[in-house]
């Protein structure tokens, strides 16, 4: 048996050279199985849509783009392994992939080691700027800080309660929120973490109720939100009494949770399906046409779509898929994305994005109630914020 395994395993040695033919291979690496699949499958779909559109227009550099799809299986070592496979076996020109920070952190050394490119489409906790990663989602100062400013100025919140899932993003985000709060005269009345996937929130809800904050900042992930909002409502704290700002609930999650349970709650992103503009109308129509009218678009889906287009634009500009040339061509590159005009920041390879605060509607879509004056310059290390010193 060992023999058979080794024998067939050796079959594909010496293969490769995927970029040499009539096509340019790119990697698409998301969790298609496991707990994260519910979010990541939609993101993969958006990337495949963007590739299909590019190919319909003739591809890049006159060659068709050939996606190589791999399953990260919601398991971080698998992400690292598949990333290595895409780079060394398939010789992809770039990889679009990841969702959780953990998967990105697992892939980061692989891409840096091989000097290969990763495009990462999800908002995250900041404090990172790898020379081989393009971050097409928001960093903290484009999502969390605008949300806090909104709570302070528009909702007149003087006290906050922090609730999150127990992993890296919520813990790091809450550290930043506490530093901001201390500098802005806002009290943080408590900080609670639930294990990922937890559905038991009576203790946390009771603590929130006892503390009586002006607002809750919610970094819970996935299914936990269903239970949390249900129990919050059960405790007599609907959206009208206690506003909850969530940074991990977008249209796709609302679809899973059920709009009735989160109606009226506040979310913070850079894009909603309802964002006005011709580019977005075209994008939403194309996505629904390909995947069904019931499907919705949201921020990570849009970021996944736009990052493929940004990569293609950079390749065209560079006249090559060579990593260093693509990086150089990407500096200051702009693209009319569904969310509006986006620009790549040459220093940290993040993207200028407009912050948008939205309210969840009964139909599951999100209405923008506030937006920043134009795109915000990405600042992953919060260098321009005095209160963030020492984070």
């Amino acid at each position: 048996m060992l023999l058979a395994a080794c024998g067939s395993d050796s079959g594909d040695s010496g293969s490769g050279g995927g970029g040499g033919g009539d096509t340019i291979k790119v990697g698409v690496l998301h969790s298609l199985s496991g707990t994260m699949a519910i979010s990541e499958v939609s993101v993969k779909d958006a990337e495949l849509l963007a590739i299909e559109e590019l190919n319909a227009e003739g591809g890049v550099l006159g060659k068709k783009i050939e996606p190589v799809v791999e399953d990260g299986a919601s398991d971080w070592p698998t992400f690292a392994e598949k990333a290595q496979k895409l780079i060394s076996q398939d010789k992809v020109a770039a990889t679009f992939g990841g969702w959780t920070s953990a998967s990105r952190k697992a892939m980061l050394p692989v891409f840096e080691r091989n000097k290969a490119l990763l495009y990462y489409p999800v908002q995250y906790e900041g404090l990172e700027a790898s020379p081989y990663i393009f971050y097409s989602g928001a960093t903290t100062n484009q999502q969390i800080i605008p949300a806090l400013e909104y709570l302070k100025t528009e909702k007149k919140a003087k006290s906050l309660y922090l609730v999150g899932s127990d992993y890296v993003f919520p813990r790091t985000a809450n550290k930043e929120i506490k530093a901001w709060a201390a500098a802005n005269g806002v009290k943080v009345l408590g900080e609670e973490y639930a294990p990922l996937g937890s559905t038991e929130f009576s203790t946390i809800v009771n603590k929130v109720k006892a503390a009586n904050p002006d607002a809750v900042f919610n970094t819970l992930n996935g299914d936990s939100n269903v239970a949390f909002f249900k129990q919050l409502e059960g405790a007599g704290l609907p959206a009208t009494k206690l506003p909850v700002v969530s940074v991990s609930i977008a249209e796709d999650e609302v679809r899973g949770i059920g709009a009735s349970k989160v109606e009226g709650q506040i979310v913070a992103w850079n894009y909603y399906q309802t964002t006005p503009g011709a580019a977005n109308e075209k994008f939403v129509a194309a996505y629904k046409k390909k995947y069904g009218a019931k499907r919705v678009t949201d921020d990570p889906i849009e970021a996944a779509y736009l990052q493929v287009k940004l990569w293609a634009a950079a390749v065209e500009k560079a006249g090559s898929t060579d990593v260093e040339k693509v990086k150089a061509a990407s500096k200051g590159l702009t693209y009319d994305a569904p969310e509006g005009k986006v620009t790549i920041d040459g220093d940290n390879q993040h993207i200028y994005k407009t912050a948008r605060i939205g309210v969840i509607q009964p139909d599951g879509l999100i209405k923008t109630v506030w937006e920043s004056k134009g795109p915000i310059k990405p600042d992953p290390f919060l260098k321009t914020y005095p209160w963030a010193k020492g984070l």
Partner: protein, 375 residues
């Protein structure tokens, strides 16, 4: 003269009935040491190294479960203890002078957590990789085997511990790296990005697997191995004969834990990252599945199972990224339904039924062989 020749022959080749096993061992060793590194690409060789790391865990499970009847559903715990011990050491060794280890930039902690301190030492780490899991298994074993916890109760207990360990690691982010786990770039001077160094690492894995296999085989064939099978089949009778079944079981359980720990420690440089996602309930069950597919009664079968299942997993997930889990599930169903003793069991079944197959169905079945031979 002929007496001398006979002695030499016995020493080198062993008794006649062992000849096939030894030849098979030599062939597999040749394939792994000479053929694979020259035939496989760097990436595929890295994957094979990972399968062989898993095979080390499988040998331990075949020992505890196949031989000892202890269904160990929580090997992720021991795998993780070994893995985290190694990852802590490697991160400390990689950190530039005066700088904290890499994961701490994320949590923002200023000082290296106290528990990391001793892992600065190479000798301490190498010892802990094996001793820590063995110690944990010994304590647990003494506690539960003494109070005669066995069967499903023992299986559930081990599983609960693996789950608790994952919750602990995720919660204690400030020293464990939380869900992100710990990433490493070097292994005792080997650069994990360098193809030649990766080949060296692969050969280290092969050597450790060979060593673990030989130790396991020795245990199985010794008087102790017979006692272990006796405890599995009739624990009370063994007790009446004056042996202490608790100790017999603890030794096998601790040995399987030590092997899992060793595998965890090698998994870290081979894969480059260890995180709670590799240790929880699902990965722990998968480990048992490898052994079930390979054949729990045979150490070689367990190794083959670990390599085959993981190879199938890679191949299926590359061919059918959206549907590979169904293929894998089908594989398990087929094996369990048609070859309940695993792949190794197919060979045994053929041997047992050779006579019947040849003479037709009316003949008396061959005497049922006790499934005893280990390798």
């Amino acid at each position: 003269m002929s007496a001398l020749l006979a002695t030499v022959r016995r020493r080198v080749v062993g008794p006649r009935e062992e000849l096939p096993a030894r030849i098979a061992f030599a062939i597999v060793a040749f394939l792994l040491i000479v053929v694979a590194p020259s035939m496989l690409s760097d990436f595929r060789l890295g994957l094979l190294a990972k399968y062989l790391v898993f095979a080390i865990v499988a040998v331990g499970i075949a020992l505890a479960w196949g031989r000892g009847g202890m269904l160990v559903l929580g090997q992720g715990l021991f795998f993780g203890l070994g893995g985290y011990a190694m990852a802590m050491h490697l991160q400390l060794a990689e950190a530039p002078d005066g700088q904290p280890p890499a994961f701490m930039t994320l949590t923002g902690a200023e000082h290296v957590p106290g528990i990391w301190g001793p892992f600065e030492s190479t000798a301490f780490t190498l010892a802990m990789v094996v001793l820590l899991p063995m110690l944990a298994a010994t304590l647990l074993g003494l506690l539960v085997f003494r109070s005669r916890v066995r069967g499903p109760y023992f299986a559930i207990l081990t599983q609960a511990l693996a789950a608790a360990f994952v919750i602990f690691l995720v919660g204690q982010q400030q020293f464990s790296g939380g869900t992100n786990g710990l990433t490493v770039m070097t292994f005792f001077g080997l650069d994990l990005a360098d193809p030649d160094d990766k080949r060296t690492l692969y050969l280290i894995v092969v050597a450790v697997l060979a060593l673990v296999f030989l130790i396991g085989r020795q245990l199985v064939r010794s008087r102790y191995g017979r006692l272990l099978v006796a405890v599995r089949d009739a624990e009370d009778r063994v007790r009446f004969l004056g042996y202490d079944p608790t100790l017999v079981k603890v030794v096998a359980f601790a040995a399987s834990a030590g092997m899992a720990g060793l595998a965890g420690a090698l998994f870290v440089p081979v894969v480059g990252i260890i995180s709670p996602a590799s240790l929880g309930i699902v990965p722990s069950i998968e480990m048992v599945i490898w052994v079930a597919v390979g054949g729990r009664l045979s150490l070689a079968g367990a190794i083959a199972g670990a390599v085959l299942v993981n190879y199938a997993k890679t191949e299926l997930s590359e061919q059918l990224p959206s549907a590979w889990l169904y293929g894998q599930g089908l594989l398990f169903v087929v094996v369990v339904a048609f070859a309940p003793r695993g792949i190794a069991g197919i060979g045994e079944w053929l041997r047992e039924n050779r006579g019947r197959l040849r003479r037709g169905r009316d003949a008396t079945p061959a005497a049922a062989t006790t499934v005893e031979e280990g390798a």
